[in-house]
């Protein structure tokens, strides 16, 4: 059973390491601001505490309050399991898995959006509306990036697209995907994970009425999603698959840390964008990826 073992180790690593990333970002923000900040493992403590807590539900909440977080979390876990990791590749790869990956992220969004509308709160409705609307642009960007990678590698599988080749459009791709990472994971300048103003929130507004274990699942899923996007960004840019296993693992870990530090720096140095600017910056990211696609597609011709 080498495949089962490899899969267990891989998914275990994903689940275990995901909550580390927000910790790194928060540490960077604290250092820049001259504070000591919360411990690196704060999210682990939070998750453990939430898992043991009693649940308080809105009187309007349906069983969807349990079903949707669970389904969203599974979608994210399967999406993560599809991604190739460095030279270890992707054991579950099949032709067209790239699109399953994109649509699994969509499934997670569908579930979180519905769970947000479940309580009938105007704030959560607002958050869900923003999330699904901006996702139109960020998903178009991700699909364009996948097209660029497919044109570059000639493959329609994540294993072929990621970590195999680096093209001339790499920098453009990196810029586009980094913006998507910030937008999809509700980071500054699109959203502020520390905000206390319900009116201005996106992701945080959607989880206002969740509590206890379902909230733990949602938070863990969000951390997992951040790690997924970080891995996508790194592997779209660096041909890690060609390195030796150890070097690839080191480079992957180092680059992901770098992405987290970059996110922390952006968050410390930038203010939030006004909502009307959000589509504009996402369209810019889309154009970055589109130019990367054109370079990858027509570059050789």
């Amino acid at each position: 059973m080498p495949l089962a073992l490899a899969l267990t180790v891989r998914i275990g690593l994903w689940l275990l390491l995901a909550p580390l990333l927000p910790g790194v970002i928060n540490k960077v923000k604290a250092v820049v601001a001259g504070r000591r900040g919360p411990p690196l493992l704060q999210l682990y403590y939070d998750l453990a505490r939430l898992w043991r807590k009693e649940v308080v539900w809105s009187t309007a909440a349906s069983p969807g309050h349990v079903v949707a977080p669970a389904a969203a979390w599974v979608a994210l876990v399967v999406a993560a399991a599809l991604l190739p990791l460095g030279s270890a590749g992707a054991p579950l790869a099949f032709r067209g898995d790239a699109l399953l990956f994109v649509y699994l992220l969509g499934l997670a969004r569908f579930c979180t959006g519905l769970a947000a509308l479940d309580t009938g709160s105007a704030f959560e409705g607002m958050g869900a509306a923003r999330e699904v609307s901006y996702a139109v642009l960020s998903e178009a960007t991700v699909i364009t990036a996948l097209l660029a990678l497919s044109a570059q590698s000639g493959s329609v599988s994540l294993a072929g697209m990621f970590g195999q080749t680096a093209g001339a459009g790499t920098l453009l791709l990196a810029a586009g995907l980094f913006v998507v990472l910030l937008a999809e994971n509700s980071r500054v300048p699109f959203d502020d994970p520390n905000t206390h103003l319900e009116l201005t929130m996106i992701h945080e507004a959607m989880v206002l009425d969740h509590s206890g274990p379902p909230l733990a699942v949602i938070l863990h899923g969000a951390a997992l999603k951040l790690l997924v996007f970080a891995v996508v960004l790194v592997e779209a840019v660096l041909p890690l698959g060609r390195l030796s296993p150890l070097a690839a693992a080191g480079a992957l870990a180092g680059s992901i840390t770098l992405v987290a530090v970059g996110t922390g720096l952006v968050e410390s140095l930038m203010a939030r964008l006004a909502f009307r600017r959000v589509p504009l910056s996402l369209v810019t990211a889309f154009l970055f990826c589109l130019f990367a696609l054109i370079v990858a597609w027509r570059g050789d011709a």
């Binding site: 079903v67 669970a70 599974v74 519905l114 097209l147």
Partner: protein, 649 residues
């Protein structure tokens, strides 16, 4: 010979249905169920075999011998027609009962059987004239079904628009079949790809069938017709009847030598329908109108598949990506039939108990209608193209075909790149739209008394929905099982496309993933549910920024939810706003209303029609009933002719 007997028995059953419709609803229902089951079996038999069923009657209708043929492609569509013809009749029993609708229920039963029969005949006609006759019966029975509630003025308007559009479509098809008959010398239909002089006729077919399929600029009749018909009728019109237009396009794009630009045009129209259909859907307040616009979207997705297949068919040996695109289009025909019919039936259950289609009067229905809610959510996830359901399978096939087309290079790559992006955008927009619908209609708390008093429909309405939902799940979890049927249909589209027996896409791997996702989700839900129960649950009011007593009116509305996206498309949607701002330090009232009209109809078709009317009115002044003036016309005419003759000589 086997399908022949089955079809004969089905025809007898449906005829029994026609006869028994006014007086004997039970016999009618049994007849429709039997007819549907028999026709379904016949279609499956043909799909499973390698030969088509072909039958020439000695009987001549309109001077032409009656010729029926059921090949793989028509059987593929007959599966949809027959299964919904039967399921819908079951639903109608409770939904449109004789007690509530003493006049329109018996008439509706008759026209339902007629519609079923006409659609089956369209699929099987191998003679242009009989195709036209069946087409006309199909259009007219649709009209009588749509206008079941003709005492309401908006129903009559919708029916009138439908009738006008249907006849415009029939007119195009008249020209098409007449042109075909004139150039080939016979009304017989069959493959004629060798005769390149027939190519321009395809444009007429595109217009005629496109009107019926609801392709974007030609969809003007569709939203009001589907919204105002009884819900089981909306379901068959949207899920099945639109597919007759698709069938015509698929059929004749395979039989005729298509013009060089046809594939590009079909794919372009498809992309436009897909994106704009869902954009219009987002702006709607009426649940059924919204679903109707999603039909425009899904027809667009089907046509994108067909268009790329047509582009591929112009390249000698058909490339694998073309087969993927065609397979995606065909499978989406089934998928859209399943989930759209389910959505309309579930919307019908809501309408039946709350008597309103306006989404902002609903809310909180999950508590009172758990079955309907669950099935609606299932269909919503399917139509949004989410794994592990059937909508994703066909969209995935199309994506795969388009990615391959891009990597294969050549001119098709230029079209494939925008198509991929637009298909992705369509998917996310549909997702946004269905999060809105599900959330506003079924979650939260009731926004009106009618919604608070809703109740679950009985089993005769639930059973058809369950069957359709099971179909969505089955295609999602075991897509490889359905590949042979698609393959069989492709063979009869063009013989060259049936060469390879195996699927060019790893459907088995996708199916396995879907099963794993479904299993893991069930497991995770169970685990989390137990954990929550274990930790204990207490209830509190919804957090609304400190309000102690949130009311249902404080919930987010459907209009606000969609506002971000509809604003992006405002230049096309042209939403109408009526705003009265709060005024003064103690404002008494304020109001904001946003309404998305059928823009193509109101800003393009109606003005052109008005101009035509004005012109005709001007011409009508010549005819006023005064004999002297008519004699003057005659005299002037004779003088003019004489002058012409003299000058000509």
């Amino acid at each position: 010979m086997m399908p022949g007997f089955l079809l004969l028995a089905a025809a007898l059953a449906i005829t029994t249905g026609l006869v028994s419709a006014p007086r004997a609803p039970r016999i009618w229902r049994a007849a429709m169920l039997a007819g549907g089951a028999l026709a379904f079996t016949a279609a499956i038999v043909v799909l499973a075999s390698t030969v088509a069923w072909d039958w020439r009657a000695p009987l001549a209708v309109g001077g032409e011998h009656w010729h029926l043929r059921l090949d793989g492609l028509s059987a593929f569509f007959l599966v949809l027609v027959s299964s919904f013809g039967a399921l819908g009749s079951l639903y109608a029993h409770e939904y449109w009962s004789d007690d509530e609708h003493p006049v329109s229920a018996p008439a509706g039963r008759f026209w339902w059987a007629m519609l079923f029969l006409a659609m089956a005949l369209i699929l099987m006609s191998a003679n242009g004239m009989h195709f036209l006759i069946a087409w006309e019966i199909f259009a007219v029975s649709g009209y009588f079904l749509i206008t079941s509630e003709r005492h309401r003025v908006e129903v009559r308007e919708a029916g009138w628009l439908y009738l006008g559009a249907s006849h415009a479509s029939t007119l195009c098809l008249f020209a098409f079949f007449a042109g075909l008959a004139a150039r080939t010398g016979s009304w017989d239909l069959g493959p004629m790809r060798g005769q390149s002089e027939l190519a321009p006729l395809f444009w007429l077919a595109l217009l005629g069938f496109g009107l019926k399929a609801g392709v974007f600029p030609l969809h003007i009749w569709l939203p009001s017709a589907h919204a105002n018909a009884p819900s089981h009728v909306s379901a068959i019109l949207s899920g099945v009847a639109l597919k007759m237009g698709i069938y015509g396009l698929v059929r004749f794009s395979g039989w005729l030598p298509p013009p060089a630009a046809a594939g590009w045009a079909v794919a372009g129209l498809g992309a436009a329908s897909a994106v704009l259909g869902v954009a219009f859907a987002l702006g709607q307040h009426d649940l059924k109108r919204l679903l109707a616009y999603h039909s425009v979207e899904n027809v667009g997705i089907i046509l994108m598949g067909l268009g790329f297949a047509m582009i591929a068919s112009t390249q000698g040996q058909p490339p694998a990506w073309g087969r993927l695109a065609l397979a995606a289009g065909l499978l989406h025909v089934w998928n859209h039939g399943l989930f759209k019919a389910l959505l309309f039936l579930a919307a019908g259950s809501v309408l039946h108990t709350t008597h309103t289609r306006i989404m902002s009067r609903l809310g909180g229905l999950w508590r009172l209608m758990p079955w309907t809610t669950g099935l609606f959510f299932l269909a919503a996830a399917a139509i949004a193209g989410l794994p592990p359901l059937n909508g994703f399978v066909s969209e995935w096939l199309l994506f795969l075909g388009l990615f391959d087309a891009m990597n294969a290079g050549g001119p098709a790559a230029w079209a494939a790149i925008p198509a991929v992006v637009l298909l992705g955008v369509t998917g996310t927009l549909a997702l946004a739209c269905f999060v809105k619908v599900c959330g506003v209609v079924f979650l939260g708390t009731a926004r009106s008394d009618a919604a608070a008093r809703a109740r679950e429909p009985g089993w005769s309405m639930r059973a058809p929905m369950l069957v359709l939902g099971a179909g969505c799940v089955a295609i999602g979890l075991a897509p490889a099982l359905f590949w042979p049927a698609i393959q069989r249909a492709m063979e009869d589209w063009q013989p060259a496309w049936g060469a390879a027996a195996t699927s060019p896409a790893p459907l088995q791997a996708l199916g396995a993933f879907h099963v794993v996702i479904a299993g893991l989700t069930a497991l995770a839900m169970f685990g989390l549910w137990r954990r929550v129960k274990n930790n204990g649950v207490s209830r509190a009011v919804t957090w609304d920024c400190g309000y102690a007593l949130p009311t249902p009116r404080m919930q987010y509305t459907a209009g606000s939810f969609a506002a971000i996206i509809t604003e992006w498309f405002a230049s096309i949607l042209r939403p109408r706003r009526r705003v009265s701002l709060p005024d003064g330090p103690f404002p008494a009232s304020a109001r904001l209303e946003v309404h998305t009209p059928e823009t193509v109809l109101e800003s393009i078709v109606v003005p052109i029609a008005m101009q035509a009317m004005r012109l005709s009115t001007a011409v009508r002044r010549l005819q006023h009933g005064r004999l002297q003036a008519y004699m003057l016309y005659l005299l002037a005419g004779v003088v003019a002719l004489a002058a012409l003759a003299l000058l000509g000589a």
